[in-house]
């Protein structure tokens, strides 16, 4: 799953520059550049913040997931 392309595509669709997206995500512009260029050695937290701004949800799936007790807030 190419996260760089996903972010680039959504950023373009939102009409955001890297710097603007970075500001909204509370991070530096360089990391946006890095991610869009295929770097995956970036903080997970930063990925999450960027995804939030771009209205992208992150989901985890597995055959066992439904067995986890989940307390809904």
């Amino acid at each position: 799953m190419n996260i760089g392309k996903i972010i680039k595509f959504h950023r373009d669709m939102a009409g955001l520059s890297r710097e603007k997206l970075a500001d909204l995500a509370g991070t530096g512009k360089t990391v946006i550049y890095d991610i869009e260029h295929g770097k995956t050695t970036v903080r997970y937290e930063i990925i999450l913040r960027i995804m939030k701004v771009l209205n992208i949800s992150v989901n985890f799936q597995s055959p066992l997931m439904h067995l986890m007790e989940e307390k809904d807030g």
Copy 2:
């Protein structure tokens, strides 16, 4: 989404110690401990490797996602 609990649950189900999981994921055991304790300032790449070992898939969803041209291998 509590990634720490997800990993802890699947690790237990797989009968793996942190050290064993770390070895399989090609990382150190400390980061497993950190993640399970709620730390999100960890490398995205490491999350991916751990998820792979535990057979958990990572998916991104958005209202625009289907508009991306995806070349299937």
